[in-house]
Amino acid sequence: MDNFINKLVELFTTPRYIESLLHGFLLTMQIAFFAIIIGLILGTIIALVDTAKRSKWMIIPKFVCKTYTTIIRGTPMALQLFIMFFVIFAIRGFPQIITAILAFGFNSAAYVAEVIRSGIQSVDIGQTEAGLALGLSRLTIFRYIVAPQAIRNIIPALGNEIITVIKETAIVSMVGMYDLNMAAKDIGSGQNMASYIVPMFVAALFYLIVIYFITFIIKRIEKHLKKSDLKTSEA
């Protein structure tokens, strides 16, 4: 125990270690943040195509989206990361961080699309029919009727997806990027502290704090939506 505390003190008083840790943390957050943004935007687009009314203009876009989500969800994230690094962006000097952001963003988009699609489809079809019967356009129906009801179903699952992306970025250490996970391993290695337990414990704490914070925000949003849900759910 004494040893643990000594190492903890050593970690937090050695600027080099702290810098490494913060550097790794920053990289993790940057990758996660931008990947989530890409995932949300691309995922929303895919979900909208997927739930759009069938017509001859939509056959190809729908097929592309379906294939995309099937491939992304059917292959390991680590493999997708390797493909991005060693095949698609195997360009000398191409910024690694951008490759990583794209890899995680493209991956997350498939899951976000599924979350949004199922949220939209969980809204009773009668709600859309009522809007149609009143002569409203599909866009108006989506904007004022379907989307507000779908969001209630989407937010909790979207929260999970955001958390998953943050944690999953840890695999960038597999391609040699210096993220929080890698920093912990580096600091604990023989050339440095020669003990893994403390840096890994601290790295875990960093992840935990961020994710706890995000869970808290999502819960607040859910609670807020529930309040109006009480008024709006079917009796």
Partner: protein
């Protein structure tokens, strides 16, 4: 020709399942047509094809003398109100917003004018106090009566009722039926799918009977109920009366 709706050889298939097998029908102004038939006969599908809530597989539907197509249907729906079995009030909107949504979004009425009309209709059905409630706080009968006045906000030329009382408790059925009766007596042209035989007898100017996707008999209520022509209708009436 004062046909409001003319239907020629309307067919609807779901895959290999032929739900409507060639319906010819016309609706004249001020008529109240009640559509009867066993469940699964296609009567709801027939009603829902008229305003393209279900897209017909083939056949022609004319509103006045305009052929309904996918291009013009949205505009025509403003003139064809519809009341659903499950009410379909918009869950995330108050009663007032349900009523004024279409008139304001379609830019047919100013907000104040729409609200004024909504208030007067609500007062008429005795639900003024519910104007700012959400649908979840209403009973089935209240929801359906609001759905009916919602369909009237755009002053449609025809109202389609798709089993308007089938999801209601016996006590609310009466309230909803008397509102439909009142609307019809005020000169609204209506088409009503229902299982309420007494109501059908009383309100219908004409009854059509659909079986296996075809109209097999039609006539005035007296003809229909007292002198049914086909064995199928006689059998049906024996069971339900």
């Amino acid at each position: 020709m004062d046909n409001i709706i003319t239907i020629k050889n309307l067919k609807k298939h779901y895959g290999n399942n032929e739900v409507l097998r060639g319906i010819n029908f016309s609706l004249v102004k001020n008529e109240n047509v009640v559509i009867l038939g066993p469940s699964g006969s296609g009567k709801s599908t027939f009603l829902r094809c008229i305003n393209h809530i279900e897209e017909p597989t083939s056949g022609e539907i004319y509103f006045n003398s305009t052929l309904i197509t996918n291009k013009n249907i949205q505009k025509i729906r403003q003139d064809i109100g519809m009341v659903f079995q499950h009410f379909n009030l918009i869950n995330n909107l108050t009663v007032m917003d349900n009523l004024i949504l279409a008139p304001t979004k379609l830019k047919i009425m100013e907000r104040e004018a729409a609200e004024k009309k909504a208030h007067s209709l609500l007062r008429h059905i005795g639900l003024s106090s519910k104007a700012y409630s959400y649908p979840s706080s209403l009973s089935g009968g209240q929801k359906q009566r609001i759905a009916i006045i919602r369909s009237m906000m755009l002053s449609p030329k025809v109202l389609l009722f798709d089993e308007p009382t089938s999801a209601l408790d016996p006590e609310s059925i009466g309230d909803v039926l008397s509102l439909i009766r009142e609307v019809a007596n005020a000169g609204m042209t209506t088409m009503i799918v229902t299982h309420e035989m007494n109501f059908a007898k009383e309100i219908a100017s004409r009854i059509i009977f659909i079986d296996k996707g075809k109209i097999i008999e039609e006539g005035t209520p007296t003809e229909f109920f007292t002198h049914p022509q086909t064995p199928r209708v006689r059998e049906f009436l024996q069971k339900v009366l």
